[in-house]
Symmetry: C2
Subunit: 318 residues, 2 copies
């Protein structure tokens, strides 16, 4: 066991620090990182979202170093909400909304951009043998994409539009493809169009869509103009799924929600079991989204790369 | 049949005008006004909402003057959306969202604040004999209140909070009472508390509610602070029903919708049949909401009265 481990720490500014190896608390496992992914939330946290301070990172695949004997040595991914199990939300089965939760690498819990990190054993999922690390590392965002299906019943004849074809939007698009819905993804870049073509998904320019005809719009933009576009595209009594956070407050035409009787449905963390089944069955293939790999030592450059316009998944290796 | 009729016309400013009696077009009936109600939408239209110009008024009870023989002489209320019957929304059974609709007294169709006015026969509902005019005049807003039940399944064990206890909010509260839900209405005035007490509905001050514990918040405020309050009160994965329009754009914390996985559901016009059944059965009693009656000649004063703070229903009589 290493005495010192590297950790990518954000405290007002980013630094790769060497620290004493963490110690597992009761119920926790220690995990050695195999591969981590950079999410837009990491970039938001560095801009001050949540006032976060600590080790970043919540998308990972790792190996259990310490924990219950049947877990040690296993390749795992992990749910990111660390919950109390006792509040009313936990007791009602909504653990991701635990009132006392901390969140791996996002809220009051050190994250996975480190050689070794902690996570409750209850949060772990074993990775099927046929799912390589570079796919397993997408489990967390793919679960978030699957959460759209938990929140909304997508009928196979629905007209579905995905806007915001970025890191998360591309996974949402792949999940939506499986519903047999009439799916299009709004793109602005040739690279988006190429990726989507590889999965057999239709890409369109915004100008080519008729306003007011989508049954479901999934907004992965996290921007005011994005939500405004969603309001334009959706039909009356249609559904907008908010799949992203915003910088601060957003100005929106709420009257259209009332008058057009829209349903605006928020969606966050999703089912890991579903995501792992899709990866195991080869029904989604996030591999073409991988742009680059960096060592933890180069996390600063990696995060900079990930923040570039139109950049999909940047990975960190120990 | 009168040659000239009075009409309360808004064209940049309000005027009670004498005009030639309207003529029914194919499929329309002519209706003689018995009683009309002033809605907040009328007040919004006078502030420029929708750029409306024409005769105001969409809450009414009247007598059919001209139309199919089996309708003439009957006491009626009427649905306010005048629809094409041919667009995709009409064909899908969502006539209130007709793409070519006009709306009685709201959009490109002269309203009911007049001695005589037109409306398609298909929009008419006969008023049961045991429902007096002063209750029947509430059918349209009561139908809008019932629309909450069309949009959301209110479980009998749900914790429901109504905010915005005004003209519409009080009807929503009465409908919600029938669901057996654990209902409270947020009030700021003693008069609201008295009215609610008369119906056996709990009134609370906002400060007395614990944030994050309502299963459903019904926002009848149509204001930014109102929506912000709704976001405070609702639990994660709970529902906010938007039951009102806003002045222009609103600034809102959309991130909370995503992170707390909320459902924000718009709701507008509702089922007249349901509203008439409730009135016929005596399950709701809007009569205590009536503040005053004015002649059409005094419509200016009536609208001013209706715009006063905390004022409920002001009626117009021919």
């Amino acid at each position: 066991m290493q005495r010192e481990v590297r950790a990518v720490v954000f405290e007002d500014r980013l630094a790769v620090m060497r620290r004493p190896a963490p110690q597992a608390r009761p119920g926790e496992a220690l995990i050695a990182l195999r591969l981590a992914g950079i999410c837009n939330t990491d970039l938001e946290l560095m801009r001050g979202y949540q006032g976060f301070s600590g080790t970043l990172g919540h998308e990972f695949v790792g190996t259990v170093l310490e924990g219950p004997p049947d877990w040690v040595g296993r390749r795992v991914v992990g749910e990111i909400n660390v919950t109390c199990g006792e509040c009313d939300m936990c007791r009602r089965g909504m653990r991701t909304h635990c009132r006392n939760r901390s969140v791996l690498g996002i809220q009051s819990y050190d994250g996975a951009f480190a050689d070794v990190f902690r996570l409750p054993v209850d949060n772990l999922w074993a990775v099927p043998d046929n799912v390589p690390d570079e796919l397993a590392v997408f489990t967390e965002p793919l679960a978030a994409a699957c959460q759209v299906l938990e929140a909304v019943h997508i009928e196979p004849q629905a007209r579905v539009v995905v806007i915001g074809a970025g890191k998360l939007g591309m996974l949402v698009a792949q999940v939506m493809r499986l519903t047999a819905a009439d799916l299009v993804v709004v793109v602005r870049r040739e690279r988006q169009r190429e990726l989507l073509a590889g999965w057999g998904i239709s890409a369109v320019a915004l100008e080519d869509l008729e306003p007011g005809h989508a049954d479901v719009v999934i907004d992965c933009t996290g921007s005011e103009p994005g939500f405004s576009t969603a309001l334009d595209l959706v039909r009356s009594r249609g559904t907008i799924v908010l799949k992203s956070t915003y910088h601060g407050l957003a100005t929106a035409d709420m009257t259209r929600i009332a008058v057009n009787e829209l349903r605006v449905i928020g969606s966050r963390c999703g089912p890991f079991g579903a995501a792992l089944r899709l990866l195991e069955a080869g029904l989604v293939d996030p591999a073409p989204m991988i742009e680059a790999r960096y060592s933890l030592d180069d996390a600063g450059r990696a995060l900079e790369h990930a923040a570039g316009p139109g950049v999909f998944k940047v990975l960190l290796v120990p």
